[in-house]
Symmetry: C2
Subunit: 197 residues, 2 copies
DNA sequence: TACAGACTAACAAACGTTAGTTAGTTAATC
DNA sequence: GATTAACTAACTAACGTTTGTTAGTCTGTA
């Protein structure tokens, strides 16, 4: 139990640090210090740095989807399900940069086996539920394109929130959920409704 | 001239490597080897690793915008200008991963001064031209949101092209420019046209 | 002769990791 | 209930390697 507890604490700390700095910029000593221990102690819990990183990815990625899937399978009209989903995803994106940054780092790394894990183990169920909702709203739509587009909008709008302030027309108001949620909902819905049925 | 030539060669090589591996995973010896020289020789051209990295960013980012801006300022209908712009940006994204990956890495790093450089020196002019086109098509639209959304779609769709194959509904066909260009054009246009004038 | 730009050799610091030790806890024995 | 053995999980010390970088040297060109 102490074992498990320490392990969880290491994973949580490592997640924050890996997300912020990336695999190579982060040393085992950094992680250990943040966990209030010494680097060699980490090896009592994880074989090596790679294994700790993989465990961190699984730890973070497995937490995200359940709430999203629940939201897509509730018993309300499809369009409202989609709006709820987008709102929740936005809140998750804004609430913690850990998932978002780790995800984007994985996209950059382009490691085939890890991309496959990401797609099959982490995203597959959510995507399929989302496809159903898209098709329910408009059976002629392209659910894969819509899903990927929505992910792009979600990840980019929140990741670029610091950049936004320096871009023309960017303001603090546009970083807020109150602004981003309805805007993203509308761009997706507009596309769904515009495609001829 | 040899000086300038070598410098350019180093920058081009460094750009490819920094884009692929990131700042920390890449050593001066790696860069030197790829340039067919020894690491200390790099210091004849750049003060240190940081300066080489900054020079690389400037080298890469300054090449991208001119063609895009030209495309937005030609003398054709606004809607066609926008379509041409999106098509060209897609081709740039697909043609080389260097710009795309370096840009995303900068978004991850969240370094305020470099984000500011990115926004003001690299993207500002393109964004402003793009805003004009958006407003020409629909004066009631939100050009900042549209610009950011378009960037999100462009970066994500091309960066996630490897991931796409493992996602439900993903296929090689959907990685192609023939598929992505019109799809992205349409999602933006639909949103532009849907906003009440 | 001067100088740019390549080189070799070498530095200190930081890296991931291992070995060996120690303190605290649990379980079984007397 | 006390004693011992076994185990967990922390520690210190240290390893070999790689890192960014500097100093000093050689070579070709102007």
């Amino acid at each position: 139990m102490t074992e498990n507890n320490t392990q969880q604490r290491i994973l949580q700390t490592a997640a924050e640090l890996f997300a912020a700095k990336g695999f190579d910029a982060l040393s085992m000593r950094d992680i250990a210090t943040a966990c209030e221990m010494k680097a060699p102690s980490l090896y009592n819990h994880f074989k090596d740095k790679q294994e700790l990183y993989h465990a961190t990815l699984q730890f973070v990625f497995s937490q995200q989807s359940p709430a999203l899937i629940d939201c897509l399978q509730s018993d309300i009209p499809a369009q409202q399900k989609l709006n709820d989903f987008i709102a929740l995803a936005c809140r998750q994106m804004a609430g913690s940069m850990i998932f978002r940054q780790l995800f984007i780092r994985e996209l950059l790394e382009q490691d085939e086996s890890r991309l496959q894990f990401l797609a099959k183990e982490v995203m597959n169920d959510t995507c399929k539920s989302l496809h159903s909702v898209f098709l329910e709203i408009n059976p002629k739509c392209d659910p894969h394109f819509l899903t990927t587009s929505l992910m792009g909008l979600l990840f980019f709008h929140f990741q670029a929130n610091s950049l936004r302030l320096y871009l023309p027309g960017g303001s603090e108001k546009m970083q807020s959920l109150d602004y981003l949620i309805p805007s993203i909902q509308q761009i997706i819905l507009n596309h769904l409704n515009a495609t001829a049925i």
